[in-house]
């Protein structure tokens, strides 16, 4: 990725905390269209490190959503089916 340096006194930017991404939306488009994403330098370093490690072949885990992780963890611990689906189980035992 090409990195462009800008002096802090030449621009006004919000200051993201580590672990936070600030998405700047295009004016008048609500939050649908992104213009820029501002990251904390530590997160940018992490992103660059991932890019160097994985190059063009990004592991799919990088794209797994929060919802997928929540659902997966829940089932991994057996918490997704507190009661048995008895009708279905009866069919399986017929």
């Amino acid at each position: 990725m090409r990195v462009k340096q800008v002096q802090a006194n030449e621009t006004r930017l919000p200051e993201p905390e580590a672990g936070e991404a600030i998405v700047v939306s295009k004016y008048g488009d609500g939050d649908d269209r992104r213009k820029a994403v501002i990251l904390h330098p530590d997160d940018f370093d992490l992103f660059e490190r991932y890019r160097r490690i994985f190059a063009a072949r990004e592991p799919y885990e990088m794209r797994v959503s929060d919802v997928a992780v929540v659902a997966h963890e829940l089932a991994e611990r057996g918490g997704d089916e507190p009661d048995l689906d008895l009708d279905s189980l009866d069919r399986a035992l017929r």
Partner: protein
């Protein structure tokens, strides 16, 4: 093989005993009259195997659960007794926004199965978890398939699974394209 389904196992939804993946701390079972022991991590296990004579093969105490799964493979010869499957998750166990996201097909990792008892054989709305590949032994399957995913659904799951498993299909696709081009351009024609 206990499971029966006239159309084959691939795509079939069956109830199965699915063991959880062992994770640290590892609990080891040493027999009926012995107390089980616990090892804090895989490194300790390795060190004890290397230096203290711990047998590399142990009986692990892991939980398992009876649950529906989608089978991904057929086993017409019955010689390979383990079958790869995908675990499912019940939607009602998730918060409403997560449920909506799955229903609206915004979650590539969670393939939505709407409530269609005649097709899927389940009386709960479910999602197939593409991140939850499991191997199930033939003897751990209940006898009858309760439902089935159709060919289109299995094709979508297959495409997504290639991505989820980080499988690089580019060389294979390039070879197939080359072979096809060669066929098309050969004097004998396709």
């Amino acid at each position: 093989m206990g499971a029966t389904t006239a159309a084959g196992l691939r795509g079939a939804i069956l109830w199965a005993l699915v063991g959880f993946v062992p994770e640290a701390p590892f609990r080891l079972w040493h027999g009926d009259k012995q107390r089980h022991s616990s090892l804090p991590d895989a490194r300790t296990f390795g060190e004890q195997a290397r230096h203290q004579g711990l047998d590399a093969q142990q009986t692990f105490l892991v939980e398992g659960k009876l649950r529906p799964v989608v089978l991904l493979q057929d086993r017409p010869r019955n010689v390979l007794r383990e079958i790869v499957a995908l675990r499912m998750i019940r939607l009602e166990s998730l918060p409403d926004p997560e449920q909506s996201s799955i229903r609206e097909q915004r979650e590539p990792s969670l393939f939505h199965l709407p409530l269609r008892e005649s097709k899927y054989g389940l009386s709960k709305e479910m999602a197939v978890d593409l991140n939850a590949l499991v191997r199930v032994h033939a003897t751990a399957l209940l006898p009858r398939a309760v439902g089935r995913l159709d060919d289109n659904e299995m094709r979508v799951i297959g495409h997504r699974l290639v991505q989820h498993l980080d499988i690089d299909l580019e060389p294979l696709l390039a070879r197939l394209v080359d072979e096809r081009l060669e066929q098309l351009t050969s004097p004998e024609g396709p």
